[in-house]
């Protein structure tokens, strides 16, 4: 699974951009929102990747650590060597998913949840988000006004001049099937679909490993989803 890990890392053009020589100054961690909240330190990510130490990198791929970053890229702005820890994280996360390492950490396993929400939205609606997917029960922080919007969606969007789920241009319009088809083809040709399959594949293996199987011995992904939501 991990053969040629360092080589795989280095073939990503983004790493060339993201990591010159790090001098360990900590200017990134100083303003990092993830360091603010989690046991996380973008400086040490850069140092570990720079070391090219195989064990260290594998540990990262299997850890919660790489999933703490919020991708705000505040690290990029200040770095005195023009590095970008956030972009190094993107490269590590990609590799973690390609190798299946992400299922070894709690935060990594959440990729399956994101695939099921954002991934599904993209393929089926052409948007990352749709109001019907921001359910008040699972988003209590959205507050009573959003609950009112959600319950009166058709009216509220129409009043502000949106074109919710209808044909033609405008806000929240329905993306028609020709365009969705092009989007799906792009995902097939450029490797997006394969990547979705990879996340699904490893998540299923994990579900089986954890004994979440149905009567036919297949992975029970509904059970796995519920597990991830509670985890």
């Amino acid at each position: 699974m991990y053969s040629e890990i360092i080589k795989n890392l280095k073939t990503d053009v983004r790493l060339t951009e993201a990591l010159q020589a790090c001098m360990n100054c900590g200017i990134c961690t100083a303003v990092c929102p993830a360091a603010e909240f989690y046991e996380y330190d973008p400086r040490s990510i850069a140092v570990s990747v720079q070391s090219e130490n195989r064990e260290k990198i594998i540990d990262l791929l299997e850890s919660d650590t790489i999933w703490y970053c919020g991708q705000c890229m505040s690290c990029k702005t200040r770095c005195p060597r023009n590095n970008c820890s956030g972009l190094i994280i993107s490269v590590l996360r990609k590799l973690s998913q390609e190798t299946g390492a992400f299922t070894k950490s709690r935060m990594g396993r959440q990729q399956y949840l994101i695939l099921k929400t954002i991934g599904n939205n993209i393929l089926s609606r052409g948007y990352c988000i749709h109001p019907t997917t921001v359910v008040p029960e699972t988003h209590p922080e959205q507050g009573p006004v959003w609950k009112w919007i959600y319950e009166n969606m058709h009216d509220v969007y129409a009043v502000v001049g949106a074109n919710l789920d209808c044909d033609g241009p405008g806000t929240m319009r329905k993306i028609n099937s020709i365009d969705l088809n092009e989007l799906n083809n792009i995902f097939i040709v450029s490797g997006g679909m394969k990547f979705f399959d990879t996340i699904n594949h490893f998540s299923k293996l994990k579900a089986i490993e954890m004994g979440m199987v149905d009567e036919y011995g297949e992975a029970d992904m509904e059970k796995y989803t519920q597990y991830l939501l509670q985890e």
């Binding site: 053009v13 951009e17 929102p33 993830a34 603010e36 909240f37 999933w67 970053c69 919020g70 705000c72 890229m73 702005t77 993107s90 990609k94 959440q110 949840l113 994101i114 929400t117 954002i118 991934g119 993209i122 052409g126 948007y127 990352c128 988000i129 699972t138 988003h139 922080e141 507050g143 009573p144 006004v145 959003w146 609950k147 009112w148 319950e151 009166n152 509220v156 129409a158 009043v159 502000v160 001049g161 949106a162 919710l164 044909d167 033609g168 241009p169 806000t171 993306i175 365009d179 092009e182 989007l183 083809n185 995902f187 040709v189 450029s190 490797g191 997006g192 990547f195 996340i199 939501l229």
Partner: protein, 353 residues
Amino acid sequence: MEIKSKIKWSEYNKEIAEDHFFFLRSCIRQNFNPGAEKAFISILKNNLKKDIFDDARHTTCTGIGYHTDIVPFETMQTMIARQFSLMTEKGYKNCAVSCITSFGSYNEILSTWKEFPEELAKTRDYLKKATGREFEIPENLSHGCDIIYKFRKEIAAQSNYKLINIETGEPLKIVDHIGCHYSKIFPEKGVGGFEYSKVLTEMIQAWGGQPVDYPERRHCCGFGFRQYLVKSNRSYSISNSRKKFESMEPFKPDAIITNCPGCNMFLDRWQYTLAQIEGKTYGGGTNGIPVFSYEELAGLILGYDPWKLGLQMHQVDVEPFLKKIGVRYDPELKFVGINGKYINEPLFTGCLK
């Protein structure tokens, strides 16, 4: 190593196209502030007499998918190439991007294509294979806020209201929040760079208000993509938002203005949630500090109806702010549905009942 030339950011200005824009929508903005995007097009067309094209065929750029790491870089490149292809087909050369995440992604990709031409060639190939399409690289890529910034004085000249307290005659104190991906990744893509970007503060000034600096002005709102999207990670989000509110509290701002759809929504909603958890607000009594996008604020001073702008969709009630600047509006129409029919009301607005 690349040695950058010494840029005096405070004097730096980026190029913003004058006219003929191809509009690219935002997933988050059209969801939570659909009226804002509608207003943006209207301001450009009707107030500024510009040509802006809203193509029904364009889709998400997949930026949120990319930054939650489920969408590979190659796929996002090809998706964005498709938007460019639609633009090319319609004869446009200037993009007007509504979303900050998209704006960052477009810039990241344009920079990658410049640095690694093989990535551009690969993308052209993927797009051709998947859709038969070809594309040209835009001549100018501006964020919606860049365009409003460019024409801020024209907007001021046409405005019905100013960002001035009509009772005291004092300018309103407004804090700005710039979305991280506007210019943290590429400072040269932001008006005035990143640290002291002028894009919102000079709008505030042009419209009569007083921009207020506060220590955590540059701190992320806390969206963090996967940190908000997965429910069990949301403490990250609220912790970082709180940091900003704590920092702006002593300055007693009348409003927050942002250029990013996500920040707009989060800074509005987290005020409510924090108040529910902590039993207090960070300003504005039980209501909180109202949060506006640049289009909403431009629309307001131009005299657009606040309920057509969709300001009733904010959790923090905008009415105290409307009263401060003397906007004439009908409070009875705030929560009505199509054709003025009654459709209930939210349980409450603001942060604390």
